[in-house]
């Protein structure tokens, strides 16, 4: 029963954007009744059928690690948080559609997680600035989720959607916009559900199926990433 393979996906984003509600929705298929602050990290598990409907269908555990906090936290909190970023197979970046600053902070979040992940020797691979090339070559699949979609007034929707389109282009990631208090957005058959499923499939593929000799272990993956980014210093 517990012998299914697993992948680890981080859920990152500013305080109060709705990560806990999102994770609860994804794993329990129910709306979270009383959201409260996440202290440290809360984990939940979703069972996903890889390549559903095909003969190669296989079930995996997807661990969603919901890490709490803000980008501007004290360095002691940041270094403690870094413990959770080990061996990550995918990242979901969550931002609040009604709050522009939370979208801007996503760059810093992704750098925080990726830098930690890709520098086992402690070498910082980027000087903290955003570099699009880095994300194009990124071995870790990203997904962008915008929450509180229902709270945007009708006339502002287009503006917000264009902005998030730019964001998803920057991260080279798919985007989903939803409201965490309404399961309808992720109902089976909607385009959102399809995107989500594709993302999880991609994560599983990267972890278990793309193994050519040059990328035998995840560590070698990181080394390649290391080398590529040092090039830009």
């Amino acid at each position: 029963m517990a012998s299914l393979d697993r992948v680890k996906v981080l859920v990152l984003g500013d305080s109060g954007v709705g990560k806990s509600s999102l994770v609860h929705l994804l794993c329990q298929n129910q709306v979270l009744g009383n959201p409260s602050w996440t202290v440290g990290c809360s984990v939940d598990v979703r069972i996903h059928d890889y390549k559903e409907g095909t003969p190669e269908e296989k079930t995996y555990y997807i661990e969603l690690w919901d890490v709490g906090g803000s980008v501007g936290s004290a360095s002691s909190i940041k270094s403690t948080r870094a413990v959770f970023y080990n061996s990550v197979n995918g990242i979901i970046l969550v931002h609040d559609l009604t709050n522009k600053k939370s979208s801007q902070n996503l760059y810093r979040w992704s750098l925080e997680a990726l830098n930690r992940d890709s520098s086992p020797t402690g070498v910082i691979v980027s000087n903290g600035d955003y570099d699009r090339e880095q994300f194009a070559e990124n071995p870790v699949p990203l997904l962008l989720i915008g929450t509180k979609f229902d709270q945007i007034p009708e006339n502002k929707r287009n503006e917000v959607l264009t902005r998030t389109a730019f964001l998803s282009e920057d991260f080279n990631a798919e985007e989903i916009n939803l409201d965490c208090t309404n399961p309808r957005y992720l109902a089976a058959g909607t385009s959102n559900a399809v995107k989500l499923s594709r993302f999880f499939d991609k994560v599983i593929e990267k972890r278990y199926f793309t193994r050519d000799p040059s990328q035998m272990t995840a560590f070698t993956d990181r080394k390649r990433f290391n080398f590529k980014s040092l090039h830009y210093d």
Partner: protein
């Protein structure tokens, strides 16, 4: 004509302060949030602007700038406006935003916020009863009534802050209190944390799998229609769900444990960073200052007790006396009669900074200024230097207050409550500044006292000083107790690892 010029000057400075408050709000406080209600930003900037104008007026009072009639007018105007803001506008908006957050009352926001405001006014009024703050000859809606109450609240806040600050400062600066934390301690704790997370994950996997099986079984059972199907579904054992609740309880306990471990790890990391910092030059400097400051703080507590027990009010600080004696000893001659005007100004400046010393521990600057005040007596410094120094002190303490407020704001705000918290901070800031003026008045020499007395009315200033001492004492002693308990607890937890 001069009145017009003066008013223009005052107005320009107010606009400047307003702009500064606006920028501070946008850049510092609301760094991570989006300003959706501009009312909040406006109210905050207005409070800040009028508070700063009050200090500006005091400085003008010393300098003798502007004509005295226009000064008087602006004092009155400023005071009325700030009281209006602190008693009517800010509490109303606090009530309004609190009510807006509660979903049930969302419809009749205005009604409920008015109710909240009336409750506030009731308690605010009742505040005056137990305190002997007024002579009975004033009317109900006079300005003295309002100021006295605002003064009481503000002085309480200031005394609480300074009591805590006086104790916390040496505790933070001195490395004597730093617990010994090694790299291996942190690694061990992190390992425990990750192990706990793994346990949580495996339990959750079991829950998810069991649920899925129940769901699939349920689907199969649904396919069995008819009478027999129903009987079968009732009699087959439902052990799955019983197991589930048991595992769920275990998961809850483990999650609580993981939270505690996380917080402990953060604590240890912070201590390690502090240890590293204390080894640097800056760290050693602050450690040294910490020893000085702890002595000063003990003395302050002692003096507060003496003041209360022996019923004294507003005598000189012993440190000032000490410096006076030193200066005399060093033989710097000064002619007392010639410097009487400067002397008053000196005393005033000394008392201003002595007073601002309390919540903001930049005491090295203050000792520097004390010394320079005495150099002024010896005509070594020119009087304009003093006002620059006093200006610096006021600015530093305002900055200190703003930094403290910002830290506080980051610690407790969330996206929902940010508006309310900013308004509460604006209220605290306004009350703090108003009561600063009240307390300062006591230390002022007679000729400057008059204008403040005229403007603020006949309040029992002695009371405020006594009240400040009492609350300071209470706050300092309880902070000592609190820090002692917190310090004791931590090494025990550390030992248990």
């Amino acid at each position: 004509m001069s009145f017009l010029v003066d008013s223009v000057i005052m107005f320009t400075s107010q606009v400047l302060f307003f702009g500064f408050g606006w920028l501070f709000f946008m850049r510092q406080l609301f760094k991570d949030y989006e300003v959706r209600q501009y009312v909040v930003q406006v109210v905050f900037s207005v409070t800040f602007a009028f508070s700063c104008t009050m200090f500006e007026l005091i400085i003008f009072e010393i300098l003798g700038a502007l004509s005295s009639s226009s000064r008087y007018f602006h004092w009155k105007l400023n005071l009325y406006v700030i009281l209006l803001v602190l008693i009517f506008v800010v509490p109303f908006y606090i009530g309004y935003f609190v009510v807006s957050n509660i979903r049930l009352l969302h419809r009749q926001r205005l009604l409920f916020s008015c109710m909240v405001w009336f409750t506030f006014m009731y308690f605010f009024w009742k505040l005056g009863d137990p305190f002997p703050i007024l002579s009975p000859k004033h009317g109900i809606l006079s300005i003295e009534q309002l100021i006295s109450r605002v003064g009481v609240i503000g002085v309480t806040l200031m005394a609480l802050l300074s009591g805590f600050g006086a104790v916390n400062c040496p505790y933070t600066y001195m490395s004597y209190f730093l617990r010994n934390v090694t790299e291996s301690d942190i690694l061990a704790l992190e390992r425990r944390l990750l192990q706990t997370m793994d346990m949580i994950v495996s339990k959750k996997k079991r829950i998810a799998m069991t649920r899925r099986q129940i769901y699939q079984r349920g689907e199969d059972q649904n396919k069995q229609t008819g009478f027999w199907g129903m009987i079968k579904s009732v009699t087959s054992p439902q052990t799955g769900s019983e197991n589930l609740s048991l595992i769920q309880q275990e998961v809850d306990a483990l999650e609580e444990l993981s939270r505690q471990l996380f917080l402990e790890t953060v604590d240890l990391q912070a201590t390690k960073e502090r240890i590293e910092y204390s080894k640097t030059f800056q760290g050693k400097y602050f450690n040294f200052l910490g020893y000085f400051f702890s002595i000063y703080c003990v003395w302050k507590i002692f003096m507060a007790t003496i003041n209360i027990v022996f019923d004294r009010v507003g005598k000189t600080d012993p440190v000032t006396r000490g410096i006076e004696i030193t200066v005399n000893y060093l033989g710097i001659q000064f002619d007392v009669s010639e410097c009487s005007e400067n002397d008053n100004k000196t005393k005033f400046s000394v008392s201003i900074f002595q007073f601002f010393l309390l919540p903001v521990p930049n005491f090295l600057t203050t000792y520097l200024i004390k010394f320079s005040c005495f150099l002024l007596k010896g005509k070594i410094l020119v009087s304009t230097h003093i006002f620059i120094l006093v200006g610096i002190i006021i600015v530093t303490s305002i900055r200190g207050l703003l930094i403290t407020l910002t830290k506080f704001f980051y610690a407790i705000s969330s996206s929902k409550s940010s508006n309310v918290i900013v308004l509460v901070l604006a209220q605290i800031m306004g009350m703090y500044f108003v009561s600063s003026v009240l307390l300062m008045r006591m230390s002022m020499p007679l000729e400057y006292r008059s204008i403040v007395t005229e403007v603020l009315g006949e309040l029992q200033f002695n009371f405020y000083h006594r009240w400040f001492d009492v609350i300071f004492l209470v706050s300092a002693l309880s902070s000592i107790l609190f820090l002692y308990l917190a310090h004791k607890q931590a090494p025990e937890k550390h030992m248990a690892l």
